[in-house]
């Protein structure tokens, strides 16, 4: 699929909580085909300290309405500036970038695991899995009950399990502690979240010989495979997360 550079209109900026918001963008032309796991590079205007673009996963796509969403956590100056954008503002964006999650070929039991803003690509993936006849389970970890987002959206896709670090909702602890992991046999796990969480989930899957794909969030200079700044060490040498990733099978990573 050809990459594009386009100026798109913000049709909604929805604040979910103190740190998270959803930007909904509408295409002028027909949207390109996007796949779960792919991302977009956003230019932050009027933020002189934010020189480089910022990468965000495609969170949800509505081809009928010709719109798509990004779920963004305020992490610093760029995301702060984006959080202040209003309906009608224009965003310059390069997309769709990167590879995508590989859907299982047979009827496998699938689990999606996400934490914090790392849930961003999982909604789109979950919807795609459901559309392809899978019944994925979804395991989401948050700091506390106030951080839980889009619970109802995930309920439409499959069974949803929650953990919070303080136990204020769902099971207390981290995603790798959840009882769902021991009560169901999964064939494939998709994971996105903080690196420590992905490493823990990766280690769990490796121990149980479960196929596992993770989506990495390495620092990116260009997003299009030219600066070679975003590399991750793999069994095939240093690979760019922006072109060979962001989705990797954990067996390829030197974790």
């Amino acid at each position: 699929m050809a990459k594009r550079i386009e100026s798109l209109k913000i049709i909604n900026n929805q604040r979910l909580n103190k740190d998270l918001f959803i930007l909904e963008l509408s295409g002028k032309e027909k949207l390109p085909e996007m796949k779960p796991g792919q991302f977009a590079e956003i230019k932050v205007e009027d933020s002189p300290e934010t020189f480089l673009r910022r990468p965000f996963s495609i969170h949800d796509v509505n081809y009928g309405e010709n719109t798509f969403k990004l779920l963004i956590q305020i992490a610093g100056k760029g995301t702060e500036a984006l959080s202040l954008l209003k309906t009608g503002n224009i965003l310059n964006i390069i997309y769709p970038l990167g590879n995508s999650f590989n859907l299982p070929d047979e009827k496998k039991k699938v689990l999606l695991v996400g934490g914090g803003c790392g849930v961003a690509p999982l909604l789109f993936l979950g919807k795609q899995l459901k559309a392809n006849g899978f019944n994925p389970d979804i395991l989401l970890g948050f700091r506390n009950s106030e951080r839980v987002i889009e619970y109802d959206e995930y309920l439409k896709i499959g069974r949803v399990f929650l953990t919070t670090e303080d136990g204020s909702r769902g099971e207390k602890g981290f995603v790798t502690d959840h009882t769902a992991l021991s009560s169901t046999e999964y064939d494939k796990v998709y994971c996105c979240g903080p690196e420590l969480m992905m490493r823990a989930v990766g280690a769990y899957c490796r121990g149980k010989d479960i196929e596992c794909e993770v989506s990495l969030e390495n620092l990116m200079g260009c997003g299009i495979g030219v600066c070679l700044c975003c590399v991750v060490e793999t069994v095939r040498g240093n690979l760019c997360t922006c072109t060979e990733g962001p989705v990797f099978n954990i067996n390829d990573l030197k974790w």
Partner: protein
């Protein structure tokens, strides 16, 4: 129609906007965004004799109006280049230049010899200014004697046009430009990145795995411009300006200061169409100022000085 072409010796460039090494991949990464053949030339990724994995991650840090990189010349080596990349490069109807890097003089010589046999590569850019490798690279470019030695050695075998890329991390860049001119370089390009660093205060450690790295982007433009102006007055060979050019206006400053051509680097990361926008902007500027040939503005500011 404004005349935009320029020459290095008898090598003709249809226009003076080139893509800088290490910021334009092998060109194909930009095919979705621009017609690469419209550029005056592209300088492909820094190439070494043997494959290199580069430095450990993190290799990049954003800085005000710029970025630091410590990629360390990750590339698959000259054999891979010749077998797998060169065949595709021939599809571009523009000058494709290879940026070569070595850890010793023999490496540079061997690379130049390999490239002699590549019919569609009309020039090499000798990178003696990469700050991100322990051996070779900038160590050649910040020492007058080794700058002379490596240029002389490569010149003696190189059948292509020879552009030497200078390091800004020196006290007097004019000396280095004169040395490479004396040793037979056909052109100089400047500047490579400026050595800098950044500290991650959240994690209380250097932002880059190598601690220091190369600064690029608009932050270095005034330094690049000053050096291009100094060098253009000191040598007769064409000077190619590079460093922080993001718009046609910034490119035009370099021509007015004495550059015969320019390279667009980091700007392509933020806008993959930047190089062509700059080309179009230069044309418009010349048109609006009533110039019919870009040569008429090269070094223009020196008239009144």
């Amino acid at each position: 129609m404004v005349k935009l072409d320029f020459k290095i010796g008898n090598l003709h460039f249809k226009n003076p906007v080139l893509a800088a090494s290490g910021t334009f991949g092998y060109g194909s990464e930009f095919d979705d965004f621009i017609d690469v053949s419209r550029l005056g030339g592209i300088i492909v990724k820094g190439t070494t004799l043997e494959p290199r994995e580069g430095n450990p991650y993190p290799r990049m840090a954003e800085t005000p109006s710029g970025m630091l990189n410590a990629v360390g010349l990750q590339n698959k080596g000259i054999d891979y280049f010749v077998d797998n990349i060169y065949p595709h490069l021939q599809e571009y109807n523009t000058n494709v230049i290879v940026n070569i890097n070595g850890s010793c003089i023999d490496d540079y010589v061997a690379l130049a010899e390999r490239i002699n046999s590549l019919r569609r590569i009309p020039a090499i850019e000798l990178n003696i200014s990469c700050p991100n490798v322990k051996m070779g690279g900038m160590t050649f470019g910040i020492n007058p004697a080794s700058t002379r030695e490596v240029t002389k050695a490569v010149r003696s075998v190189c059948k292509k046009k020879l552009i030497v890329k200078l390091s800004p991390n020196v006290t007097n860049i004019i000396d280095f430009a004169r040395i490479v001119e004396e040793e037979g370089a056909d052109s100089v390009s400047l500047i490579n990145t400026l050595v800098g660093m950044s500290v991650d205060i959240k994690n209380m450690r250097p932002s880059l795995s190598t601690v220091t790295g190369g600064l690029s982007g608009p932050a270095i433009k005034p330094v690049a411009l000053r050096m291009v102006w100094q060098v253009a007055k000191a040598v007769k060979i064409p000077v190619i300006g590079v460093g922080g050019i993001t718009t046609a206006d910034s490119a035009i400053e370099f021509f007015l200061a004495g550059a015969s051509a320019i390279q667009v680097g980091t700007a392509s990361f933020i806008d993959p169409q930047a190089s062509l926008k700059i080309l179009e902007g230069i044309e418009n500027y010349l048109d609006s100022k009533g110039f019919s040939d870009i040569k008429d503005i090269i070094g223009y500011i020196n008239r009144d000085l």
